[in-house]
């Protein structure tokens, strides 16, 4: 579903630069994402796709360019309202949940930070929404499977009612059957809550399944932007994207002997 360009983008990035010491991790990247759109960032390791996402979240040192949320440009320091609007789900559910906090405490923390009342019922509702149920409230992360942990991480992001969700490889640490469940959950949530998604993945099939449009990245810069339909129909202009697509189709034995 494409939204006409007239509306204010939910997220707009202009000539964004990220530099770590001498290394330019992001070399002037620009993109616009409409409200309720689902946008994918694809590329190999070192392409800058995660850096771009982290820069939006305020987790990478921005050295140039501008990030705009709903028409408002972000300053060097993000305010609290920003973190309520924009939430992130990380790749590794084994690393992103505090090992000595119960699920209840993990979900309560963002509520306390943002001064949201009514904790009890919000926590129960969030757990129901991600398909876990309140029976999981007083468990520790080590008592959960990888898929269940990722559901907790999604619940933690949703509990402050953001409008933009940043997803950094949300299913690449999960088994294929669990991945399908989590992807379905994310789609369901996006529909129910009218969210904007920005999703990073190395897996072209996952991104075309989840996103309307995507940007292929290489060496900290854009290769091209295209819609998922164009990718599926192979209406691609750049060799790099063609190679990536071919590689994702599996191994082909070279004909010899």
């Amino acid at each position: 579903m494409m939204i006409e360009a007239a509306s204010t983008p939910a997220l707009s990035v202009r000539d964004l630069e990220v530099t770590y010491d001498q290394f330019r991790a992001l070399k002037g990247v620009s993109l616009d994402i409409a409200p309720r759109e689902s946008f994918g960032l694809v590329g190999e390791s070192g392409s800058g796709k995660s850096t771009l996402l982290r820069a939006v979240a305020g987790l990478a040192p921005v050295s140039g360019g501008a990030i705009t949320i709903d028409g408002k440009q972000l300053g060097r320091r993000r305010d609290k309202a920003f973190y309520r609007r924009v939430q992130m789900v990380f790749q590794d559910p084994y690393g992103s949940l505090h090992p000595r906090h119960t699920v209840d405490r993990l979900l309560r923390e963002p509520l306390d930070i943002h001064g949201v009342g009514d904790g009890e019922s919000r926590i129960n509702r969030a757990l129901d929404e991600v398909g876990l149920g309140s029976g999981f409230r007083f468990r520790y992360p080590h008592q959960l499977s990888g898929g269940q942990r990722q559901r907790v991480a999604i619940a933690r992001a949703l509990i402050v009612e953001p409008s933009i969700l940043l997803l950094d490889e949300p299913t690449s640490a999960l088994d294929a059957s669990v991945q399908a469940e989590v992807l379905n959950l994310l789609e369901q949530i996006r529909r129910d809550r009218a969210l904007t998604f920005v999703m990073v993945s190395h897996d072209l099939a996952v991104v075309t399944h989840m996103c309307d449009r995507l940007m292929v990245m290489q060496d900290g810069a854009e290769v091209e932007q295209l819609t998922s339909a164009e990718l599926a129909e192979r209406r691609i202009t750049k060799d790099y994207t063609i190679n990536l697509l071919r590689a994702s189709e599996g191994f082909t034995r070279r004909q010899s002997a």
Binding site: S45, A176, Q179, V206, L245, A247, G250
Partner: protein
């Protein structure tokens, strides 16, 4: 047909824990010739423990039993640890998932390869160096002299995995067990590594066991695939017949992966049946 390279009958691996015994592998049987066999399953299916049991790398607390576990006529269940060590690295080798963890971080790549070779063969230092450089070239490292002196943290993941493969193949093993050898790598690098493995396995006539969670990748690479679920082989099929898989688990696993160009919302999910685990 000659005797198989590897003969596994009713292999079981059990881990005694405080809360009872965990049966990681429950009666796996297969034979392997000089071919490429894939073992596919999700986490906890027992695929890695099967590979480790063959190599004798199961944790000491576990019990490994089998009706038969023979490599080239030798009974792997009764041989001594010393004999095991002589086999390991020399005749049976293993490539692990992530070169970041499986290479020694404080030893240069060249020295690690030379060490492997000199453990198993009596060769002079200069001869060992020459062979290590030749091996690095065989895994398509363009500048072997330079890479020889590098440490694992100085190379990329793809380069590290090439070095790992070079180290595993230098003693000329007859059986190679590759446990998720490309899962930590980018797709394009993954294919390069697989092409190298493929040509080396073919040229040297090795047997290969390719352990992976990726059913489609494995079936595009191997001759035959075993699908494991809850410690058992639920289905064995020729890789080219993957689309005709009979077992509902295999079908479900194939079905639940997103495909480019197929619009399926929501994705079909796997409905696990209790009887698959029996």
């Amino acid at each position: 047909m000659s005797a198989p390279l590897l003969d596994v009958q009713n292999l079981a691996v059990r881990f005694p824990t405080r809360t009872g015994t965990v049966e990681a592998v429950r009666g796996v049987s297969f034979t392997l010739g000089r071919e490429r066999l894939g073992i596919v399953g999700e986490s906890g299916s027992g695929k890695s423990q099967t590979g480790r049991a063959i190599l004798g790398l199961t944790a000491p607390s576990a019990q490994v039993t089998a009706d038969r576990l023979r490599f080239d006529g030798q009974d792997l269940l009764t041989i001594s640890n010393a004999e095991r060590r002589r086999l390991r690295g020399k005749r049976i080798a293993m490539v692990l998932q992530d070169p970041k963890y499986s290479l020694d971080p404080v030893m240069s790549i060249g020295r690690q390869i030379v060490e492997t070779l000199r453990t198993h063969e009596r060769v002079s230092r200069s001869e060992a160096r020459k062979r290590a450089l030749a091996m690095l070239e065989a895994v398509q490292i363009r500048d072997p002299e330079r890479v020889f002196d590098l440490y694992p943290h100085e190379v990329s993941g793809g380069m590290g995995q090439r070095a790992m493969i070079a180290m595993m193949l230098i003693a000329g093993p007859e059986l190679l067990i590759a446990d998720e050898p490309t899962s930590a790598l980018d797709v394009t690098v993954q294919l390069e590594i697989l092409a190298i493995l493929d040509s080396l396995v073919r040229d040297k006539g090795m047997g290969l066991i390719f352990v992976s969670h990726d059913l489609r990748l494995v079936s595009s690479f191997c001759d035959r695939v075993l699908v494991m679920y809850a410690g058992r082989v639920v289905e064995e099929l020729a890789a080219k017949d993957l689309s005709q898989a009979q077992h509902p688990y295999t079908q479900g696993l194939l079905n639940c992966m997103p495909k480019i160009g197929a619009s399926r919302h929501p994705l079909p999910v796997l409905e696990r049946q209790a009887e698959w685990a029996r």
